[in-house]
């Protein structure tokens, strides 16, 4: 491949962001635009007895007020769920509707009750305070396991026991037997706490119905505009899809929270149709806290059995997944097919079984959050591994080497078939851990640690060797597992007559740097300059189709769609070149932006071929003019990045406060197109993972109030909470896509959390501490030390 691929090319999108010229949804103003404010329920569970909008309707500047009753009258269903998971007995999961505005009862703090549309945002905000709602309060349940208890309040009247579905994967009998016969069983009870995504850009949506053309436009902060178009047109509002345009311009971070089709998107479009003017809504941060889909929220018990040699014999997991008050677009697949299927980890575990129950509660809906299911699986596995090593008196690195799946490249050796449905593509797990151990200088650290202990200082080291499934996903596979959409990607490569290239991609960039990475692919493959390439994304009117960006899929799936399109361009270009050069196609070679007749100096530049394609005066007979290909690529398998992360921490014995002294990450994301961008993805992921380990977590009280619904109360990782990250990589190419790429967007988040927690547990080993619930706040760490000190004193 040409030299531009694999280089840390500086990003082409940066200049607009650096000069304040980025265009985010809230930056947009349309002529005659109105502003919406949404009345949110302050209660978590209550029947709506009456909604009085009289005062709001009469307030200055108010254009219209709508309530749940209007939505019922208009016969609009709720926002749909995109993935069907069946009960163990074959019954379809429970899918209570999530209406655009609720009419009967509110089910979580933040549920939308009414919308005010006014001439200004201030007027809308003033008027929304004038709406009077009579609520009849109902009992509340916020924790997943509590929702299953007898007599728990029902979130949806027609969902018995609040169970959305129950589900299992793996061989239960073999696993039970393995655990029973094991020489050693390590058991842990986990709370993988609920996280609030907090992209720094709040969600925003502008609905715009134009009567003259009968067209609908939605500007929205989405990671996947075509998915929103399909869901909103076909399942929510019943609009003609060809008359609907979705634009997601610059988007300020997604992390999964901008995948779902949200009620506000459909609501703005519907409201615009009612008043025949554009309507804009932008979330206030407290609305983001209450209504951006949350992540994680699993309560699990996991047992890992070992034989006398320290080989894993079985893994048994029982999980309750809290889905919140309603289903979100992909909430159902996160705890199942993105979680249960990852429980093999990097290990040869011969028997695995997971039993999972997904429940509704009076909390914000849960959906994908950076990693989505894979962090939960990795956390289970990697915590169990470090604890098992300590219990068995084995070095945690050694225990991993003993259990790793041996190296396989997926070409000369087959992929690795797991016990939990997936087939890994390629891997070399020993290599990546060995490299990480070198980076951290493991033996040296252990001696520092013993020295520090004699001085009363608590240092600890924690490991996490992870695998994840990315490049989501082969449509046939996910279809068989319940996905209601294909998960291919599309790209259109349009060579302009002057040889400049416009590429229209279904992938969406909200920080990932696609405009650079994809341009590198095009420039590298065609041997043209980067500045002669333009990447267009985020507008359903210009991009033919796409499934969007999530699951670390853009390079592996979207990039491959581009590469295949480029192949087609070169194939057709060769026909034109052969004609112009009066040579046989097979005698041509393409390099440095031109076709050359092998062994001669006869050549024709790419730009000349492009011009010929559009000015086909002297042209191969029977060949269509033009040089423009749309390619759909459906992967044959997931990709499986992996790596080893190691954290070194110090615990303040007096306060329990944790300092991360070092964070070492060695990742294998397959071939890399832009190392600078990949490293940046890993840094951000690691910070997010550290956030879960030490700082973040939604706190609901018993009445369903979100107690930490602002940045004054919900701790985000800041610059001075984190160290410089030491990153490196090994390269095991993906065997089934032409780029050999695997994906890097979520790796850091998946890996970092258990590494940090394991390091703290290691630091507290002298106290006999084996577990602390996340986030590891200073108080929790301090209390863990006190408990052990007290017990020792007895």
């Amino acid at each position: 491949m040409a030299s531009v691929i694999g280089k840390s090319i500086k990003r082409v999108e940066d200049k607009r962001f650096l000069t304040g010229k980025g265009k985010y949804v809230d930056d947009m103003v349309l002529p005659d635009m109105t502003y919406a404010a949404i009345l949110r329920s302050h209660l978590a569970h209550a029947r709506i007895a009456n909604v009085d909008i009289t005062a709001a309707e009469n307030a200055p500047g108010v254009v219209a007020v709508f309530t749940g009753a209007d939505i019922v009258k208009a016969e609009i269903g709720g926002v749909p769920c995109g993935w069907q998971v069946d009960f163990k007995n074959g019954d379809t999961m429970k899918e209570p509707p999530h209406p655009l505005l609720v009419a009967d009862k509110v089910r979580f703090m933040g549920d939308a009750v009414a919308v005010v549309i006014a001439e200004s945002a201030a007027a809308a905000k003033d008027a929304v305070e004038l709406i009077m709602v009579d609520y009849e309060e109902l009992d509340v349940v916020v924790d997943g396991p509590d929702a299953l208890k007898d007599g728990a309040p029902l979130i949806h009247d027609d969902v018995p026991n609040n169970i959305c579905y129950d589900w299992e994967l793996g061989d239960q009998d073999a696993t039970d037997q393995a655990i029973e016969n094991a020489d050693h069983v390590t058991t842990l009870e986990f709370v993988n706490q609920r996280l609030i995504p907090n992209a720094i850009e709040p969600r925003s949506a502008i609905g715009h119905y134009e009567e003259a053309s009968d067209r609908y436009t939605l500007y929205t902060t989405s990671q996947n505009p075509h998915v929103i178009r399909l869901l909103m047109s076909a399942f929510v509002l019943g609009l003609p899809e060809h008359k609907v345009r979705i634009v997601s311009p610059d988007v300020g971070g997604g992390f999964g929270s901008k995948i779902p089709h949200y009620i506000e998107e459909a609501l703005m479009v519907w409201c615009s149709k009612q008043i025949k003017r554009p309507v804009k809504w932008t979330a206030e941060r407290n609305e983001s806290f209450m209504t951006d889909t949350h992540g994680r929220d699993h309560v699990s018990k996991a047992e890992m059995g070992f034989d006398s040699d320290g080989k894993i014999t079985g893994l048994r997991v029982k999980t309750v997944a809290n889905l919140g008050a309603y289903l979100s677009t992909f909430s159902t697949c996160v705890p199942t097919y993105l979680h249960g299927t990852l429980l093999q980890g990097l290990y040869t575990t011969p028997a695995i079984h997971i039993d999972l129950t997904a429940v509704f509660t009076n909390t914000t809906p849960v959906d994908a959050l950076r990693g989505a299911g894979r962090p939960e699986a990795t956390y289970l596995l990697e915590r169990l591994m470090d604890n098992a090593a300590r219990e068995m008196g084995v070095d945690p690195a050694e225990l991993r080497f003993k259990n790793f799946i041996p190296p396989f490249d997926g070409v000369s050796q087959p992929g690795y078939q797991t016990q939990v449905a997936l087939q890994y593509d390629s891997g070399n797990y020993e290599k990546v851990l060995n490299k990480a151990l070198e980076m951290v200088d493991y033996q040296e650290f252990r001696s520092q640690q013993s020295q520090a202990r004699t001085e009363g200082r608590l240092l600890g080291i924690g490991f996490s060797t992870y695998i994840e499934a990315c490049g989501i996903a082969p449509s046939a596979v996910v279809g068989s597992l319940g996905a209601r959409a294909g998960l291919f990607e599309s790209a259109q490569v349009r060579v302009q007559p002057t040889g400049k290239v416009s590429v229209f991609v279904g992938s969406h960039s909200h920080g990932q740097g696609h405009e650079t990475t994809f341009s590198q692919l095009v420039a590298g493959k065609l041997g043209i300059a980067m500045e002669d390439v333009d990447i267009v994304h985020g507008d359903t009117d210009s991009v033919s189709f796409g499934m969007g960006t999530y699951g670390s899929r853009s390079l592996a799936v979207g990039g491959t769609a581009i590469m295949n399109g480029l192949e087609k361009v070169l194939e057709k270009g060769a026909k034109i070149a052969a004609h112009k050069l009066e040579a046989a196609e097979e005698d041509l070679e393409y390099a440095n932006g031109q076709w050359t007749v092998k062994g001669s100096d006869k050549s024709i530049a790419f730009g000349d071929v492009a011009l010929t394609a559009y000015v086909p005066h002297d042209y191969p007979e029977g060949l269509e003019p033009g040089l423009d290909f749309t390619n759909f690529y459906d992967p044959t398998n997931f990709t499986f990045p992996f790596g080893a992360h190691i954290a070194i921490v110090e615990v303040d014995k007096d306060t329990g406060k944790i300092t991360i002294d070092r964070f070492v990450a060695c990742d294998d994301v397959g071939n890399v197109v832009n190392p600078m961008i990949v490293d940046g993805q890993l840094h951000g992921g690691i910070a997010h993972g550290i956030g879960q380990a030490l700082f973040e977590g939604a706190i609901y009280d018993e009445s369903g109030q979100l107690l930490n619904g602002s940045f004054m109360d919900y701790t985000m990782p800041r610059a001075d909470d984190l160290p410089m990250f030491e990153t490196d990589r090994t390269v095991t190419p993906c065997p089934h896509n032409p780029l050999g790429a695997k994906g890097a967007g979520e790796a850091g988040t998946i890996a970092a959390t258990p590494a940090v927690v394991n390091a703290v547990i290691d630091a507290l080993a002298p106290f006999g501490v084996t577990d602390i619930k996340m986030p590891l706040t200073p108080e929790r760490v301090w209390k863990a030390m006190q408990t052990q000190i007290k017990e020792a004193a007895l």
Binding site: K10, L18, A122, G253, G511, M712, A719, M724
Partner: protein, 161 residues
């Protein structure tokens, strides 16, 4: 209530009648359409709205437009000089100190003050100086590097200049 204000922004004088409750960030974004300054929260926490008012970095979501009467303001749009990027802007690009770009203007304006107060900061001083600015994309790693490199570059320019 309407309040008359006169503010110099990026070298240009703006005279307006503003609603007393209009926040400075709204005045910039909505009235003047200088949308490079962003709103990420409502609690003076995230720093996306940071601008320079009379030489000091401040959070424009926690200031009324009326309070800025008579002030001299620099926003991200006014940082580049005749199209030439400021060394901080350059360094953010060189070191990949931005991803989605949403926190970037605020980060850069805070960094401007940081380097004004401490022209050769250490890594730890940079990290501490960014305590009022959140980023969810970069893990701060490359932001810290970018500010560090800009400081050394700017120092050299002074020496040579």
């Amino acid at each position: 209530m309407s309040v008359p204000i006169s503010i110099t922004i990026n070298g240009k004088i703006y005279e307006s009648e503003v609603d007393s409750r209009l926040l400075l960030v709204q005045y910039l974004r909505e009235t003047l359409r200088l949308t490079g300054t962003h709103v990420g929260c409502d609690t003076s926490s995230c720093g996306a709205c940071t601008i320079i008012v009379d030489g000091k970095a401040i959070k424009s979501c926690t200031m009324l437009a009326a309070q800025a009467h008579g002030a001299t303001i620099i926003t991200i749009e006014g940082l580049a000089n005749n199209g030439a990027l400021h060394p901080l802007q350059e360094s953010f690009k060189e070191e990949h100190g931005l991803q989605c770009g949403f926190c970037t203007p605020g980060m850069i304006m805070t960094a401007l003050q940081l380097l004004e107060d401490n022209p050769q900061p250490s890594e730890a001083e940079i990290r501490h100086g960014l305590e009022g600015n959140y980023c969810r994309c970069t893990g701060y790693h490359n932001i810290v590097k970018a500010i560090y490199h800009a400081s050394r570059k700017m120092g050299k320019e002074v020496v040579h200049g």
